[in-house]
Symmetry: C2
Subunit: 627 residues, 2 copies
């Protein structure tokens, strides 16, 4: 940054005592009160000069770490042609969250919410040979997403700045290398910003091998639920978290049959007017008279899946299923997919099915509960009476929890009827088993078996192996070493700059204000003369000049205000080092220095203050810079 | 910039031989061919890594010079709430050139074409005391204007980056001080970029004292016509250019009467079926039989003016004109304006009326030729027969050229009738005289009387004393030293970054490619090893490292390409200094260095090449940095 010494009075730092009514989190309150941001409209914030300085420092840290791994910065437009989004298919998919505009010529435009399309379109036109790969491009640029309820200041604004990087590769190995380098760069970026992030890996087993890692910060208002292990460093987003089953490996069918050796044969029971699992438990009762627990039921749900890649040719009820070749012009022969398929999922009655896991397991573009009409058609019963026994019209997928159930209650594929004494392996066999449950606090860690607990988190960054999604739909090709046309595989990597900045404040503040890490502070030192006059003024000016010459960014509070006002503003704006200069100290050639956030200040000779501060500041910067 | 030494093969520089069909100007052709930009859609260009480096350098030069004069950078949003634009009244005025969007909640948004409203809204909320003024804020940010025919690459794109600054002041003196500082900063910015600009001042007389200066570059495709003086440094936009009348001062009415002493009394003549001034000239003839010249006619045009501030209470026909108080809640009492008024303008027959000058003269928001019905009503004659003699229904304004006409032909306020032998001062007197003509090549310079000539130009920057336009309509107030509420006056100052960059290329290129000034070159030195192998490779790597250590930005062409290909790309991309390293030179421990754009290269010792280049580069940077 260019200005390194500036006078407070010449700067524009409108600090405030009051807190806007809608500012419920610390970063929103403090960014507003310290004069970093102002609201232009719901979800639209202007960065004032002080705020912009910190904002640019986060940007620059991101830029440096991207450049360090060989990513190349470029700049497509913020307003993008709608045609690109129609080509990729996201014009429809992204819905109302994407801000669109039509110009006078009736051209469609999109205010970029992300930029896979624009980058891929440029690379498509320039890519000819495998020699150009891998290629990693990025931008740090304005984005817009029309949040329905923008809240929490810049933490969830409509307009924001994102660093988004995209990479193209000949093969998975090359993609993985860049993906790993990005992961390391992200860790370094967050460390340099003073942020404690929780890297959350998608369970690569459940996600079918395509890698993805989210970088979360803990936050009471976080929009993600994380599951963390008390024993090891396992962390997962609830959307994707795996968990260790209550046994070491699912039993085989033979083992399951054996464990059901003493279970009575299953029998049909009337369950009239019973609507919920709870009512059913109370109605049925155990031998000791206690109501049956939901853990004794097998819940069976019918899902509709779209664009399924998994081979279903030998799956029950799928023999005549339509299968289509997508991107048939690709040299690799394109992909065969089922535009639509149905699956029954059996899971223990107290658990929920994680749809992301199910989609990954069957390699589907999307899954959702099937419409009632399809449920009735496939189960031959009203909704609510599905069960795995005798279900032949579609593939039955069984969650690991069901594989140890040897005396369960299930729906009987008929109105007001259930089966009891149903045993897995004996009374039904699955087409497939897998980990499909939504993990909860108290479940066991899939890595070490420790107990999982929950935290709320906000996503600051995300690295993702995209694969062929865009390169196929947008027809990107290169010639390989043998001169054959190939489609490259792709990765994408994002960091929200505004959100990272706000998260720094969430992590570093106290009652009085922000406590900036030096790396992203708007400036390093604030000099507070008790009265900016006479010898104090001379000393303050000299110290500011000395610091400026040493490359330290200084704000000199030259205002004619009471010391209390100046101290409060210094605390509120959170400048890391405060130097107080007053007559009393000066009589001893001393000034008072204090690290924001620390309780104790101390006196130090005026003559060596600049050197001392320089050393402290460089130490802190150096520490964060270490690999 | 972070990366200072990089390998060509690891960079993304897709150079091209062919020129896109629509690239008709050098900068568009060369930015495309050298891999600086690619087109995403009409008027939407992506900067590739090489282009972005130069782009950022222009931005940084602008930023440094803004910071140096105490302007404070901030960042409002690109997508702005429509409400702000409705408040200022520009929601309607800016029309279809402004891209608008509606979100799912039916909120109106504007993709910012400029930001007077957003900045003024923020300042309005924070401004309380005169002590906060003057305040100068700026941003360097994305803008969008929906050009109907976007052309010439980034020179006239739809999306572009503009530095826009705004200032608020207690009084005109303070505004003028900032305005002058901006003017000096702009000259320095363009000098540092290697741009020869033509500063074009609005004629402050004609423009009613409100200052405005445009910074133009000559361009064959320029959308402005400039008038320049052959003798002095006078330069003006044709829209606003003044010119020296053919006499030193307009004659007084007495002088005019005297000069008409020998003119016969005016008389009415029939001019049936005569439609144009040319036909009238041929019809009337001079005494020697030659057709009369258009210079012998007085053309009289009726204008309708909107929001007129000039006091018309004593003007002919204006006694009962409606007058309204705008912004009556202002402490200064608001402004009295006539929502509508009509004026007759008399000008020599061969000349055109400059509407901008007329608007400035009568202090109108806008002027345009009056609708036919009004002309008929006010002149009591069909359109085409207006004349100043006997015209009493509205004020007659006389261009300076008319004040020396003592024997002229004019319309006679009746169908197919004209007057001849009309003399200014004798047969009619004006309500007002002024310089209203559209200046043309061949006219005389208003500063020195030299002859004016024309050039086409493109506007790179504009500084402008806005006055109270936005602060009044948006109700901005502060308390003055006496605790009284006042409205601040305002200035605005813009520079187009993309256009400045393209203009550098327009000014610095040859057949082979770009010739960058060091200050905005994507990097300073390109090292071209004849073959990147063996000792040549060792020497090239060492030189790159030496240059990097000296803070010089280096591109090392490590590609396995023929030397001719590498030389062509080096010329095309225009890197200022080229170092060729080959076996032959190395045998003598020599390398070849050449400044791009110069014919001659020369050999220099490898050992001292880095030092020599560093010196040359810093010399050039220092030269441009000088005040």
């Amino acid at each position: 940054m260019y200005i390194i010494a500036m006078n407070y009075s010449g700067f524009f730092i409108p600090t405030l005592r009051e807190v806007p009514a809608d500012a419920v989190i610390a970063s929103h309150r403090l960014m507003f009160r310290s004069g970093m941001i102002r609201k232009l409209a719901n979800g639209l914030f202007a960065y004032l000069p002080l705020g912009l300085r910190s904002f640019r420092k986060v940007e620059q840290i991101v830029r440096e770490e991207m450049d360090a791994i060989g990513a190349l910065e470029m700049k497509p437009t913020v307003v993008q042609p709608g045609e690109l989004w129609k080509e990729s298919g996201r014009w429809e998919v992204l819905g109302e969250g994407m801000l669109r505009a039509k110009n006078r010529l009736d051209n469609d435009f999109v205010i970029s919410p992300t930029a896979e399309e624009a980058f891929t379109a440029i690379v498509r036109d320039e890519l000819s040979s495998y020699k150009q790969l891998p290629l990693v491009l990025y931008q740090i640029n304005t984005k817009f997403r029309d949040e329905i309820r923008p809240r929490y200041g810049v933490m969830r604004g409509r307009e924001f700045v994102m660093k988004d990087a995209y990479s193209w590769h000949c093969d998975d190995e090359s993609l993985d290398k860049t993906y790993q380098a990005m992961g390391r760069a992200y860790r370094k970026i967050f460390k340099r910003c003073g942020l404690s992030v929780i890297p959350v890996k998608a369970d690569s087993g459940a996600m079918g091998g395509s890698g993805s890692e989210e970088f979360m910060v803990e936050s009471e208002i976080g929009d993600n639920t994380l599951l963390l292990c008390k024993k090891c460093d396992y962390a997962a987003n609830v959307e994707k978290a795996g968990c260790k089953p209550d046994f070491t490996a699912p039993p085989s069918i033979e083992e399951a049959k054996l464990s059901a050796a003493n279970t009575p044969p299953y029998e049909k029971i009337d369950t009239p007017n019973v609507k919920t699992i709870e009512e059913l438990g109370a109605f049925l009762k155990n031998n000791d008279g206690s109501p049956m627990s939901s853990k004794q039921f097998i819940k069976t749900l019918i899902y509709r899946a779209v664009n399924v890649e998994l081979d279903l040719s030998s799956a029950p009820g799928c023999k005549d299923l339509e299968r289509k070749n997508f991107a048939p012009d690709s040299a690799k022969g394109g992909v065969e997919m089922y535009p639509q398929a149905f699956f029954a999922v059996a899971i223990r009655g107290d658990l929920d099915v994680n749809e992301a896991k199910l989609a990954a397991l069957v390699k589907a573009g999307e899954v959702a509960l099937a419409p009632d009409a399809d449920v009735v058609r496939l189960t031959n019963a009203p909704v609510g009476f599905a069960g795995p026994v005798g279900l032949a019209a579609l593939p039955v997928i069984v969650d690991h929890t069901v594989t140890s159930m040897n005396d369960a209650v299930t729906g009987a594929l008929a109105k007001d009827l259930h089966y009891r004494h149903v045993a897995y392996g004996r009374d039904f066999t699955p087409w497939m088993t897998g980990d499909l449950r939504t993990v909860k606090a108290g479940d066991l860690c899939p890595a070490c078996g420790g107990t999982l607990y929950e935290k709320k988190g906000n996503e600051l960054g995300h690295i993702f192996k995209l694969g062929y999604k865009y390169t196929r739909s947008m027809n990107v090709h290169y010639l390989d070493e043998n001169g054959k046309s190939q489609t490259p595989t792709m990765g994408s990597y994002g960091i929200g700059v505004d959100r990272a900045l706000a998260s720094v404040i969430e992590e570093h503040h106290d009652e009085a204000g922000i406590i900036w890490p030096v790396s992203v502070a708007p400036c390093h030192v604030i000099i507070v003369p008790i009265k900016y006059d006479g010898e104090v003024k001379t000393a303050a000016d000299r110290l500011a000049a000395d610091l400026e010459n040493a490359g330290i960014e200084v704000l000199l509070d030259d205002r004619n205000e009471r010391p209390g006002v100046k101290f409060n503003d210094a605390d509120l704006t959170g400048i890391p080092w405060r130097v107080v200069i007053g007559d009393k100290g000066l009589a001893q050639s001393q000034v008072e220095i204090k690290r924001r956030g620390e309780k104790e200040s101390r006196m130090t000779p005026l003559d060596t203050a600049a050197k001392e501060l320089q050393q402290k500041i460089n130490e802190e910067l150096g520490m964060r810079n270490e690999e």
